[in-house]
């Protein structure tokens, strides 16, 4: 699974990187640091990636499932 943060939608609420601190972090302005490119989610982080996706008030986070 990959997680993708839409750079046009993220406004830096910071709820995702609080719930998934080992997967996501912030830049100097408070946006998610890696935006606009899919990030591989390690198996032990899947639960946190799902929580991050569900908590974003901007709908900026999508999870990409690969078969």
């Amino acid at each position: 699974m990959k997680i993708y943060i839409d750079p046009d939608e993220c406004t830096g609420h910071g709820r995702c990187y609080r719930l998934a601190p080992d997967l996501l972090t912030y830049d100097d302005e408070g946006y998610v640091s890696i935006r606009g490119q899919p990030i591989e989610v390690p198996k032990d982080q899947i639960e946190f990636a799902q929580e991050a996706e569900g908590t974003c008030p901007e709908g900026a986070i999508s999870l990409i499932h690969e078969d």
Binding site: G14, Y26, E29, G30, P57
Partner: protein, 414 residues
């Protein structure tokens, strides 16, 4: 509601095809009345027209509120108070629309970023600790007029580099401003006077710093004197004043209100106090849930920029709309257990800090202040309760609600 009907009232000169009522949302009511009103409106229908002032649309459900926030090119922030389409103030960047908006935000974002808050936390904590230690031996506090007003004021002034000795002046101005901001006609003069006083404070502060040989470290006014708009030109004094003034108004009263609602909950729920003492890692989600369930944002206004149909309303250019944040935050269509305070809620995409480009600039500061307040208060005063059986009133929900009173008691701590 004072009046509600499916028919069109005489005050509305067009066919709005939704229930119409006439209500002043600035009235003081028993605490919780505005959330209950929001719940009732949302479950009775998605759309209303309030004929109060010039008249405006009210959207009650999560999806519509989200779509207002996410479409700033349609829903302008030129006015954010739906009963006042031509306000006497201009907040920057609050009332600036994209694409200019982000250029102002980029100047301010680093001052209120999570990284900056990490750096400021020891200062914030020491202010909090001092105030808790002063309060603990008294065994009582009128929480929202004492601790919950002074603490965020001092913390905010510390973050932007203002002498904490000036805090008392800001406390008075903020109180006076918000008496008028909710739409209360009698408060209008006080609001204008308070705005003028805050502005004058910054006029003087900028004058004092203008001839400094070097910028003052950690001093926002000093920083703005050297800041550029879009790497193109220096900010104008007008812009600097508009920015500094809105920060004061946005940063102090709001946190006070949310702290008030949070500590009321903790006073009434010993099991949640106990849980946060045993599991302090839950404090951030407990704070986030306060911002959803006990939001002090009754609603958020925007001005329509073109004719369109939107969630069942025929909007015209120049109309005002009101996204009922308090209703959206408890919308059972998007939340499980929407009408419960769930201390460890994870999926919490609430609009307590708005959404879209205008999401609250100070949210990282506000959260940090609330988290630190819970930690420091519970450490010294683990048990406390509401010291009154009478009804606590809240300021009207026109702009933002706030408990007017919050008497807390505990066994005095030496």
């Amino acid at each position: 509601m004072t009046t509600a009907s499916e028919s069109i009232e005489a005050t509305v000169d067009r066919e709005v095809r939704c229930p119409v009522f006439h209500q002043d949302f600035s009235e003081e009511k028993p605490l919780g009345s505005y959330w209950a009103l929001a719940d009732r409106l949302r479950e009775q229908g998605p759309l209303y027209f309030n004929s109060f002032a010039q008249g405006y649309w009210i959207f009650t459900r999560y999806d519509a509120v989200r779509d207002i926030y996410k479409n700033p090119e349609i829903f302008s922030s030129e006015s954010i108070t739906p009963w006042d389409p031509e306000p006497i103030y201009r907040f920057v960047p609050t009332q600036i629309d994209p694409p200019k908006h982000i250029k102002y935000r980029r100047i301010l974002n680093p001052w209120f970023s999570p990284r900056q808050m990490d750096a400021a936390e020891p200062m914030i904590r020491s202010i909090c600790r001092r105030l808790v230690e002063e309060t603990a031996p008294l065994g009582r506090s009128n929480f929202v007029q004492e601790f919950a007003l002074r603490y965020p004021t001092e913390a905010f002034l510390g973050v932007i580099g203002v002498d904490l000795a000036h805090a008392d002046r800001f406390l008075v101005w903020v109180e006076d401003f918000f008496r008028g901001f909710g739409g209360d006609v009698e408060g209008q003069q006080g609001m204008a006077d308070a705005l003028q006083s805050i502005r004058q404070y910054w006029v003087d502060a900028l004058a004092e710093r203008r001839n400094d040989p070097a910028p003052r470290e950690g001093d926002l006014a000093s920083y703005l004197l050297g800041a550029d708009y879009d790497e193109e030109r220096p900010l104008t004094d007008e812009e600097r004043l508009d920015m500094l003034t809105v920060l004061v108004l946005a940063g102090l009263d709001t946190t006070r209100a949310q702290l008030g609602y949070m500590f009321r909950h903790l006073a009434m729920h010993p099991e949640d106090r106990r849980r946060l003492l045993d599991e302090p890692e839950l404090i951030p989600s407990a704070v986030e849930e306060v911002l959803r369930f006990y939001t002090m944002i009754f609603g958020d206004g925007r001005k329509v920029t073109r004719d369109l149909e939107f969630h069942g309303a025929q909007l015209r250019k120049g109309d005002m709309v009101y996204g009922l944040v308090s209703a959206a935050n408890r919308d059972p269509r998007v939340y499980e257990r929407a009408n419960e305070y769930v201390i460890d809620r994870k999926k919490n995409h609430h609009f307590g800090f708005a959404s879209g480009p205008h999401r609250c600039l100070g949210l990282h500061l506000a959260r940090r202040e609330m988290q630190v307040a819970v930690e420091e208060w519970l450490r010294v005063i683990p048990d406390f309760w509401l010291a009154t059986d009478s009804v606590i009133m809240e300021r009207g929900g026109g702009a933002m609600t706030a408990p007017l009173d919050m008497p807390l008691e505990w066994e005095p701590v030496a």
